[in-house]
Each structure stands twice: as C-alpha cells, then as structure tokens.
C-alpha cells in the first residue's frame, strides 16, 4: 500500500502523477455522480419507505397482508440483486440506483413501523379523549411520535445506501467513487484507491451529519428536553 504522504501529495497536487487530485475536474465528476445516485436512492427510499412504514404500523390489517412478503424479501442482501437489477433496468444508472435504494428502503420502512409501534398507547387514548378523529391522530400523534425512530431509520438508510452504492459502482458503472477505487486497482494506481476511500469516508460522514442536523431541527422537543426535567 502507498504511504500516507504519497497519497496526500497526489491528492493536493496540481499535476497529479496518477491523474486524480482536487485540481482535476474528474475528481468532482466522480464525487458528484456518487452523491447524485445516493441522493436519488435515499430520496426515493424516504418518500416511499416512510409512508409505507407508517401504514404498516398504523393499520393492523395492512401489516398482516403486506409484512410477510416484506419479511421474505428482506433477508436477501441488496447486492445479490445486482444481476437481476442489470436485467430489469436498462442502462448503467438505474441498476446502481436500484440496489442503493433497496436496503435504504428496507431500513427506513422497518424503523418507521417500529416507531409507530413504540408510541405509548396513552398518547393515542389522550388524543381520542380530547376529541381527535383518526386522521387527526395520525397527523398529530402518530407522525411526530414516530419521528425519532424514522430518523434513526434514515441514519441507517444513509449508511447502507453508501455501502451498496460502492459495490454497485464497482461491479457496473463508469463514474463514481466505487468506480474510482476499482479502476485504481485495475490500473495499478494505488494512491487513487486511497484517495477514493478517504473521499468516500468524508462524503459519507457529511451526508449522515446532514441527516442528523435535519433530525435535530425537526425534533426540537427532544433537544430541549434533555436539558431539564427529572425523568419521571
């Protein structure tokens, strides 16, 4: 493996010997491609997974009918879908996004459902007492009550998203950080591998930090409750 200094000088070099540094436009092209793929997959997973999870948690019947199928598909690793994804979706972009989306969707849905289950029965009863209708309870009790779990789910979803993206890009793809790492290997330009890994770590970290920031800003009550209160 190349030493850290070699990697670092390559990374910040204006004229990189292996062809990849913060001064080369390809570097940003790769980062952007990966970020875009994760963003689309994560967005789709959130858009579909949260309502789906809420429904699973809220309606007993819906869960009885749908969850068994969900549980059959869930243990299949996302990456085992790669060949089918390539067959199902034309082009190189959609298969990668699909296998990034899949585990993110499972994580979001499952945690959202658990979030609804975690809501104390007395909140729902209290809302009924105060004259709320079912739809109002969904909006004012179930949704905010599940929010902490939803964000745990999104946090995991972001992690597994990046996880599968890399594999997807390694197997198929012309751009993206996974591709950078893999091509660095095939072209024997080892510092590029390290640059790819470090960048991946950085971007991954920033994206989960973003999810966390959005979470805390939406859940002010939790942040502020930590300060005072006696726990009982």
């Amino acid at each position: 493996m190349p030493g850290l200094t070699v990697v670092f000088t390559e990374w910040v070099s204006k004229n990189p010997p292996y062809g990849l540094s913060i001064y080369t436009p390809e570097y940003y092209q790769h980062v952007l491609t990966s970020v875009q793929r994760v963003a689309i997959a994560f967005g789709l997973a959130t858009l579909l997974g949260v309502p789906f999870g809420l429904l699973l948690g809220w309606s007993r019947k819906f869960k009885d009918f749908v969850f068994p199928v969900f549980e059959i598909l869930r243990p299949i690793p996302a990456l085992a879908w790669v060949p089918l994804a390539i067959l199902m979706f034309k082009g190189t972009e959609s298969p990668v996004i699909f296998i990034t989306f899949l585990p993110a969707f499972f994580a979001t849905t499952l945690n959202t459902m658990l979030g609804v289950h975690s809501i104390d029965e007395s909140y729902i009863r209290a809302a009924y007492c105060l004259g709320a209708k079912r739809a109002q309870i969904f909006r004012h009790v179930v949704l905010p009550g599940a929010l902490p779990f939803i964000f745990t789910g999104l946090q995991i979803s972001m992690g597994v998203g990046w996880f599968s993206l890399v594999a997807g890009e390694m197997i198929s793809g012309e751009y993206g950080l996974g591709y950078v790492i893999y091509s660095g290997y095939t072209l024997v330009s080892y510092p590029v591998i390290a640059i790819g890994m470090i960048t991946l770590g950085l971007v991954g970290w920033i994206s989960s930090a973003l999810v966390r920031i959005v979470g805390t800003s939406l859940m002010q009550w939790r942040v502020r409750s930590l300060g005072l209160g006696d726990g009982s």
Partner: protein, 280 residues
C-alpha cells in the same frame, strides 16, 4: 378436547391466514408478471425479465442434487463464520477495553471514527493488495463488516451499565477481576448480542458482494475462477454471465434463507446466554 381447540385456534389465527394469503398472492403476481409476455402479449415492466417461480423451483429441484451448489453454500457460510468469528473475538475485547480505559479510548476511538464511514467494500482492492491470498482478503472485508457494529455496541453497552451496580459491588468488597466477571461482562452481554445480530446481517451482504466482485471482475481470477470455488455470490454472478437466469433467483433465495437461518440461530444463542432478559 382442550388441545384440539387450541390447535384449531392457532391454525385459524387471522394473522397467519392473512400471511399465507399474502404470500400466495405475491407468488401468483410474480408468475403472472413473469409470463405476461407469453400469456397476454404485454411485457409487464421490470418483472417480465425475472424468471417465473415455477421455472425457478424446477431449476432449484435439479440443483439440490448438485454438489457444486452445496459447495458454494458451504464456502459462503465458512467465510461468513470466519469473518464474523474474528470480528467477535477481536471486537468484544477491544470494545470492553475502550469502555474501561479512558486513555485507551482517547487513543483508539478517533482512529476508529475516521475509518468507520468508509464502507467495507471500498476496502476490496486495498485488501487484495495487502493480503497475500484472495481468501484472506475476503475474510478481512467480511471481518470489517461486522467489526464496527460489534465494537460500537460493546462500548455503548459497557458504558451504559448502571453506575449503582459498581457502587453496590464495591461496597460489598468486590473489585478488579470479580467486578469484571460478574458485573461488566453480564451487563454488556445484551448489547453484544444485539451488535452481533446486526453484524451478521452485514456480513452476508459483504460476503456476497466480495464473491461477486472477485469472481465477476475478470482481473481477480485466482481461486474464484471455478464455479464451485466461489461461493453463493459467485454462483449468482456466474449464472448471470452464463445466462441461466433461474439460477440467479435460486442463488438469491438461498442466500436469503441462509442469512435468515444464521440470524435466527444467533438470536437463539443470544437468548440462551442472557436468560434474565427472557423472563418477565
């Protein structure tokens, strides 16, 4: 009489009936979707390229007598277990050490946090360069997959032990090894089992991917070149390149079952070593 009634009740439990119904509907829809082009002359989007369930079952039945199929499963399982075992053996003591020694934590944790966001699969090329054999590099990546969750859960578990337990133990004359053996270890066990369960899920993902990359990527050749030598991930990839699409689905379902069984086994083991959590 009573027993018969009980059986009847269990058998006709609405949740169970609904589950069976749901799965049947799912399989039927899948069949219709896969055959849509032949039967209705209209290719349903996406699903029409997936082989139909009855074709998959026929192929699967044939494969059950095939030694290569079992060999693939065995190889994958071996990799999962060795990577997972190594993660457990190294991760748990490391996590405990990090939780117990402030200095050690200060030194190790930052490094740990820097490395953690890098997905395990990004290590594939680096691992191949670093480790002498391909088997070792796959084992390393597999290990990495479970390692982080196990360490983090162990640290969190040990740190969240109620401090009153330590005070009570200390007041009753307990110290050092005794506290470790009778308070810290059992107190951390529930989170270790939790971390292990999560780790097990990741490990299967990693093994499949590593097998696919090393087998599928032409440049890595080596031991993975023969169909039987590559494990289930390679089995899938090989079926893909070989054009036998039914086998892809067989491979996927096999991995699903293996993953499900190993998590289930782990959960049972976890319950067995933490009997106090079972009772309520």
């Amino acid at each position: 009489m009573r027993l018969a009634e009980e059986m009847k009740k269990r058998l006709f439990d609405p949740t169970r009936l609904r589950a069976i119904f749901a799965i049947v509907v799912f399989v039927v829809l899948w069949e219709l979707g896969s055959r849509s082009k032949d039967w209705f002359g209209y290719a349903a989007p996406w699903i029409s390229v997936i082989p139909a369930p009855d074709a998959v079952i026929v192929v699967w039945w044939g494969l059950l007598g095939d030694a290569g199929y079992w060999q693939s499963g065995y190889l994958s399982l071996l990799r999962v277990l060795s990577g997972f075992g190594a993660a457990l053996l190294i991760g748990v003591p490391l996590g405990l050490l990090m939780a117990l020694s402030r200095n050690f934590y200060g030194i190790v944790f930052p490094t740990f946090e820097v490395l953690r966001p890098i997905p395990p699969l990004a290590w594939v090329p680096a691992a191949i360069i670093f480790w002498p054999t391909q088997e070792l590099s796959i084992a390393f990546i597999t290990f990495l997959g479970a390692f982080y969750t196990i360490v983090i859960n162990t640290v969190d578990g040990a740190k969240s032990i109620d401090p009153r337990y330590f005070e009570a133990a200390r007041a009753m004359g307990s110290s050092g090894w005794d506290v470790f053996r009778r308070i810290i270890l059992p107190g951390t066990l529930p989170s270790i089992t939790l971390g292990a369960a999560v780790g097990m899920g990741i490990v299967w993902e990693v093994v499949v991917a590593a097998e696919m990359i090393s087998g599928g990527g032409s440049s890595m050749g080596g031991a993975g070149a023969s169909g039987a030598g590559g494990g289930l991930g390679f089995f899938i990839w090989n079926s893909y390149t070989g054009g036998s699409y039914e086998q892809i689905v067989v491979g996927m379902l096999s991995i699903g079952i293996a993953g499900y069984l190993s998590s289930g086994g782990l959960r049972m083991l976890g319950e067995w070593i933490t009997p106090w959590l079972r009772v309520r």
